[in-house]
Structure formats: structure tokens, C-alpha cells
Symmetry: C2
Subunit: 108 residues, 2 copies
DNA sequence: CACATTCATAACTCTATGGTTATGGGATGA
DNA sequence: TCATCCCATAACCATAGAGTTATGAATGTG
């Protein structure tokens, strides 16, 4: 059962290794665990665990084909993160707008 | 010396307590450590440490006034985070465009 | 069937970190 | 001056988590 909270997303993406894995999947598309392990600089079980965390956060999908597992990025999962940053900036804009309004009213 | 890497940002925002502090500063504006401690559910030193991490990531600014320190959100610091998510989505769009091109060419 | 390959899980270690209490330093007020 | 207040730092503890090796389950291959 995958959740899609900002908390899980931030925590999943906080680790640089995991972020790199996710980036590779975004840039180069679907890949097997073996391919991801090559060049990751860590053991295969470590990669599997990271992929598990990413999957739990909804950031990747896995597809089983024979004895290998293909992982792919689920970029839509970034939506809550974009929303969150948007909310934080909206308030900045809102306060900026308020300031503008204030200045306009003072100008009259 | 504050840095503005995505890594520091993700790590700083991965902790829910820190994220809540940052949100409060975004929503309610500048506040003292005492005000932030009230309602945080943790001790004052813990809040100070969190604020230190946020400051290190460039997410907040501090202003000393008498014996109290006022913290405020620096929303601009979220830019690298927005860029990063944008890059991840751009590649999705790019591949989507490629697919569209392919379909158009197949249609001819 | 026997063996190899691919991945996931288990069990464990070690470090990073989020929390605490104790303390100190600078500013304020009596 | 002396006591108080606000905050930061130090020292410490406990847990989370990122890595490891060992192993097993499932699949492919001789």
C-alpha cells in the first residue's frame, strides 16, 4: 500500500543515493536492478532496499519479467512536492500582493 | 557559510518538525524562538537546533534584536528544489514529446 | 535434474541525528 | 549591581537508517 504524502516524498528523496537512482530512472528510463546496481557504488541488496523505499513513496513502479525486476520512475508522484513548494511560494506572493495593495492604497 | 544545494534542502525538509517550523514562518511570517517553541511540542534547544539546520540550508534568516532572535522564511531558497522537480518532469515531457513525434510520423 | 542467475529478505554493524538536560553569555529591568 | 529572561551551545542518550554479508526463492539453462 503506497502512500503519497509530502513526508514520504521528502524522506525518500533526502538520501543522495536514492535521489541518484530516481534521476537515472527519469533520465534513462526503465532499468533492471542489475543495471542500477552497476555504477551505484553499493551492493545489490542496498540498491534493492533503496528501490523499496522509492516504491513505498510511490516514486517508482516495478515490473517483474522472468527473474529480473524492471523499475521505472513515476514522475507524477512528485506532484505533492510541487504543490507544497507552490503553497509556500503562494504565501510569499500573497504577502507581496498585500504589500502592493497597501502601496496602491497609500498612493491614492 | 550557507550553501544552496538540493541535497541540503531535501535533508533539511525531510524532518517533519523542521518542515512545520518552516511552514509556520512562511504562513505567519517572522517569529522569535520563544514563539516557535510554544506549540512545537519539543524543548527550546531542540527548536534552536532545527532552526540552525534550516539556516544552514538557506531556508531561514535570523535577525538579532536585543536578547531575542527573530527568524523568517527565505522562500527563494526553494528555487533549487523547484528546478530539480522541473528537470525531472521536463524529461517526462521530453519523452512524451518524442512519443508524440513518433506517433505523428507513424501516422503519415 | 543439476546448476547458474537475479533479486529480495534477514540479521547484523555502525554512524547520523533528533531528542533530552545542564549550562553559559548577552540583554533587560528592578 | 543583581536577578531575570532569551537564546545558543555542550554533553549525552536512544533510535533510525544506510551499509554490509549470508541466504533463500524464483526463474532460466545445460
Amino acid at each position: 500500500m503506497t502512500q503519497y504524502s509530502p513526508d514520504l516524498l521528502f524522506r525518500a528523496l533526502a538520501d543522495p543515493t536514492r535521489r541518484t537512482l530516481f534521476e537515472r530512472l527519469c533520465l534513462d528510463g526503465e532499468q533492471t536492478v542489475g543495471a542500477l546496481t552497476a555504477g551505484a557504488g553499493i551492493s545489490q541488496p542496498a540498491v534493492s532496499k533503496h528501490l523499496g523505499v522509492l516504491k513505498q513513496a510511490g516514486l517508482v513502479l516495478d515490473r517483474h519479467e522472468g527473474r529480473q525486476t524492471h523499475y521505472s520512475a513515476q514522475q507524477r508522484a512528485l506532484a505533492p512536492l510541487v504543490d507544497w513548494t507552490g503553497r509556500m511560494n503562494r504565501f510569499w506572493e500573497a504577502r507581496f500582493d498585500d504589500l502592493e495593495d497597501l502601496l496602491k492604497r497609500m498612493d491614492q
